[in-house]
Symmetry: D2
Subunit: 407 residues, 4 copies
């Protein structure tokens, strides 16, 4: 039973946006719910802090920041003569607040390794529906907006599109906490330039340079932070460590882990009526404390991988434009077996390849509409600089990871 | 066996100070040691993030920031004609880097609850000595400086005094991450004003206004962050939860907890030769994952306290200038017993009182020397504004915590 | 005839406060008036840029910034349940926008040297009244608020009091442009803490640390910027240069100067019906271009003083706690006469003494009311740290200026 | 005779870069020279403050900032193993400090209208040579570096190239003071990535995203600030006003203006041996005070243009991708003649067309070399995103200006 908090705290200090005022009582109640409080224990950027030590900010903080930008966007759009009712404003605030509530620990990395049966979007929706039942249907409109079923489509675009409040917050927040100051985007200015035409979210023409800069800053954040090679290497190591743990369990070995994590390691499919309660117990601390415990496990592979993760002895990562030469992979594999005296199946945990890619912009699936002299243009038409080919060019990089001490 | 990292990363992004360059190879090796890496998993401000969601920065980051300021201070002092050898520069950098390495999880709160036999200063020294053995005596001078035994006393003052690099970093860092922008101190300017006279660290006269501002900003941080009433209440709740766990163990109950934490909960005294290894396994994730597990414990007190902590249902805290009236305490106690149907010994976990205090400055134990026309003055003599009585006035506040739903 | 600007620019970029939106059409029209545009050509901090090269910001910018803070304050006070009509909001915005419109070039320095018959407050009011006539009485309420005659007294306090929007803007703006980052005050936080009780502007109790910090930051700005000794010395030099010019004119000498300046140099009293038009032609460029021309004047005193000012060959300034010893002054005077071969009346332009003073706070003339548990306290009662004596302690410094090359 | 300043001020507060330390005594002496002090009275961005009120920063401040970045660049390049002697460090600091000393008031606008016989580069070199004579040849090496005649070519590139310290300072400074925060470039990071290969200034490969962002930010600053349509319109108005003044003088009319300006208005060619002394008397205040005086001139065209400039009644500007239709121009011209009752020659001052262009990057004249695995690539080869065609695409815009009230 949640006690009622009479004296509601209404202002939150945010080093990124300054003071954030919580305007709606329902929003405040949702924030206090244990479903949302869990996000306090989940880092927004997973293991990125191994490269950028400041990047320890949480999904909790990001969700509130995105909601703050949403309030600003609502004010701007209203000031340009478009009607948004108070009920809609509350609903779209709730939709953005809860848009990522289904993320688990190290979601970017582990999404399909822990709760394989449900992806995070599905879980987010399940959470919202559970909250809606608990709050007597007061989230109906928020859910409609989230799912793109509400008749004012631009409200959905504020929650999920190329220029949604999610991105405008996380790019700015991630560059703030990593200290990659060049990734800073002008969220405030972009929001001032938002407008609505034919129920579409658009950008006023004079915001075009800001949008160009936004795309470049986003790209910089991708290569410098989100796809940073050392971060990739760390994430792969965590993934493979979890994989080894699951493989050991399958082969009948005993394993220490928190109850919450153990459930998911030992069950491929959790029944729908208990997944939320079980998932809600899971956060970064389960992963970290379990991996730490595994350092002492008597399986040498699990123990070594866990120790590498805890003490930042990450694998070397080679990144290149062309696919890795299979002969080279084979050579490394041999070295690993010889150097560490591992069987071929054990050695598989010490070598992995993959690819990573990023395109600045694709007008196929996610347009940015520019409003110029009353007409709409796709960004690539409106921009003097970016053309379709350049912007949508998908950069692929191939990588190979293996222990440094093998070479 | 730690592999040697040939390709040493030399620059760290810090959102607070910008780029931090690691100048000494030994410093870099120490940073990579598992003793130091553990600090990545310990929040600098414990549970403060329950009030200021951005305050999730780690002791790891703070230690590196303090070392960065130390490098700046060394440059300034050298530029004013005082000799500091390269060896001394390395040693004082190491001393500041490791000055807090003995802190445990939620150290501010739990220091005496988990590892009661050793305080964090003792543990820091033990860590340094262990590292010194591992690095063949190369930390000798750093340890001498840390302990105040090195013949150049001002080097110790840079590590530990009223104006040490520890404070200059943590005040700035804590205000950065909490978003309490008024707590920002002018670290850079204060460092530019540092000087040495008669082996004493002093401040050039024209820095006096910056020092006054520093003291006021520090005081503001104390009342607004470090001693924030909601933070106090959360810390007390954590303390009492751990206490309940220990009490249950003493009375023979079984308890889930990580191995590392369980050891300390069940041992009052850890032998000196194994304390570091055991302690080094302990971090915030042990506390959080254990408390989370206890929510399901069948002891209703432990379960309820744990649930309150996880879901931020904190106790109400009353704060006042005078000691709490015993009759009022007694009245609350009765209500708790009646409202929750608790025995008197159980009710004790739901009610606690204490006091907290802060003085801006005491020239008794920690002077700030101002250098004016070649002579030294205590700050209170040199300042037009602050006098001894005002600055050293110790403000005491008394508090009482209990569940909100009892009233 | 002013042409009507159909396409009104509504947003102004401010590096200090971000985007500033002009909400009222009348405000925008006033900003476009030549009376207000003149403020673009008047530096907020006069000659301070000779010490802080960034301090070239204008009174124009400050007035707009103060108005922006006023809009924030109105929102805060309304959100706490106090009624402010739209008409009042517009009026108090106009009152703050125009509060300093009567300042002339180097007003701080030259106020009584150029337009001796009217001080800047009188001129500000005269400007407002002239604008009121031109805008058909639409400034009636703004003028009432400015003069403290409007029945809601707190509106006047927002324009002029210890915590008015004028101060909250200029302290922040001046520290921004000088780069004296320690002078930064938390304008936004202080404004969030404003409230109204019994028609008095008050500060909510939890804002008390911010107020303490505000007073200390203000004091720091006084000693480090506003009363900086080199700035004082430069201002005195400008004053004495103008004085020499006026004295030469009185003695019948010819002098180059802009028409606008020449009028005021040659007239002690300007008739009230033409003072505004004449004054409105006067700005910093008149002073600078005239002083520059005087470098070539054949009066050696005027020429030398002007050359010193243009090329930053300022006088030495000695600053001390006690009045300057008359014997020492006499000694310097003798040196000046001998060194430069000047008559005693000429030497008078090369030597001046004065005093400067600052108190952090005086509860006599300007109270800050703190609202605590529904009751009002003066700041010095409510603060644990500051007492009446400390805060109102008036620090006086005495100074003596003379050419460096005389010693 | 300049008096010697014994007590040299060594630290300058810069809101952009923080504290700037002046390391070389000769540099300090040059800064105190009247040639350099003149830059205090010249706005870096001319009339841009009519759109961005904060943009009142001076060429003086920019020159010092660029020198500060030069010191950082020297440290970085030295730390990568390239030798730069102390003498070279001083010389390259002087070269950047003085690189723009030949700029006159509103140089961007008026360069060829006031001192038509010498462009600003020529004047800068003449200033340096004059200073070199005064300082006994101590600027020899600085001049060689400035002219690209010194044998270490990369030193010249630090002063003048695609990535010179001039640009790295002005882009950052201009975005700081305008408040166009999206124009902020990561000067510090770019400088950290500088290197030297084969006597060429190059950028380490991992800096490539920062360079891409730099080019985009620069482009944004061009369109949003430097070529802002209202700024263009204001500059054109100033140009045409000066032109009218010169034309009146040619036709024998009398004109008020400061002596310094009057000389240049009445002389097409100033003899080389007196141009510096005359030019050195000229700054923004001459233009502003003269234009202000002309408001009262009896030539109605000069008077009206001057009044428009003083009171910001700027011309409308139409900007488009294609050249303006001559028929449209003719139509406007007719309207102007009719509406204002002007002769055809007078009307010419009220209507002007022109074009403005900007390309992000041209690898023809100004390469940026990227160092990748020991080899050099042009940016357009090394970048995944930018190709030659996109980056060097020259965007041309055509404009037409005329009074708003004619339509």
């Amino acid at each position: 039973m949640r006690s009622i908090n009479i004296n509601k705290r209404k202002i939150i200090n945010d080093p990124v946006h300054g003071f954030i005022t919580i305007k709606h009582e329902l929003v405040f109640d949702l924030m206090e719910h244990s479903y949302f409080q869990r996000l306090r224990r989940i880092c927004q950027l997973g293991l990125t802090y191994l490269v950028y030590p400041g990047a320890v900010h949480t999904r909790f903080h990001h969700a509130i920041g995105a909601m703050h930008l949403m309030s600003m966007a609502i004010d701007v759009i209203r000031s340009k003569g478009h009607s948004i009712t108070d009920e809609e404003a509350e609903a779209v605030n709730i939709a953005i607040l809860l848009h990522d509530i289904g993320h688990g620990p190290y979601s970017h990395t582990l999404e399909h390794d822990i709760v394989s049966a449900y992806d995070h979007e599905t879980l987010s929706l399940m959470y919202m529906q559970a909250l809606n039942r608990e709050f007597d249907g007061r989230l109906d409109m928020a859910i409609d907006i989230f799912r793109g079923k509400y008749h004012k489509g631009f409200l959905h675009q504020l929650v999920s599109s190329q220029l949604d409040m999610d991105r405008l917050d996380y790019l700015r927040r991630d560059s703030f906490f990593t200290g990659v100051s060049e990734g800073v985007i002008g969220s405030e200015r972009i929001i001032k330039m938002l407008n609505v035409v034919d129920d579409q979210l658009v950008v006023d023409a004079k915001g075009i340079y800001s949008i160009e800069k936004f795309l470049i800053a986003r790209r910089l954040m991708y290569w410098q932070v989100y796809l940073h090679k050392t971060v990739l290497s760390a994430e792969k190591l965590l993934e493979i460590t979890l994989q080894r743990a699951k493989d050991l369990i399958k082969s009948g070995k005993e394993l220490n882990a928190s109850d919450a994590l153990l459930w998911f390691l030992t069950h491929d499919k959790t029944p729908e009526d208990e997944v939320l309660e079980r998932f809600n117990k899971l956060d970064d601390s389960d992963i970290m404390s379990s991996v730490k415990a595994w350092v002492k496990h008597d399986d040498r592979v699990l123990s070594d991988l866990s120790d590498r993760l805890m003490n930042r002895r990450l694998f070397r990562i080679e990144l290149q434009k062309n696919p890795i030469d299979p002969a080279y992979i084979e050579e490394i594999r041999k070295r690993i077996e010889n150097r560490f005296g591992l069987s071929s199946s054990e050695a598989a945990y010490y070598l992995y390849t993959g690819e990573t890619s990023n395109a600045a912009y694709s007008s196929m699936d996610e347009k940015i509409n520019i409003l110029k002299h009353g007409k709409l243009y796709d960004l690539t038409e409106a921009s003097d600089m970016f053309d379709q080919a350049t912007l949508s060019h998908n950069v692929i990089k191939y990588y190979l990871c293996y222990p440094k001490d093998v070479m």
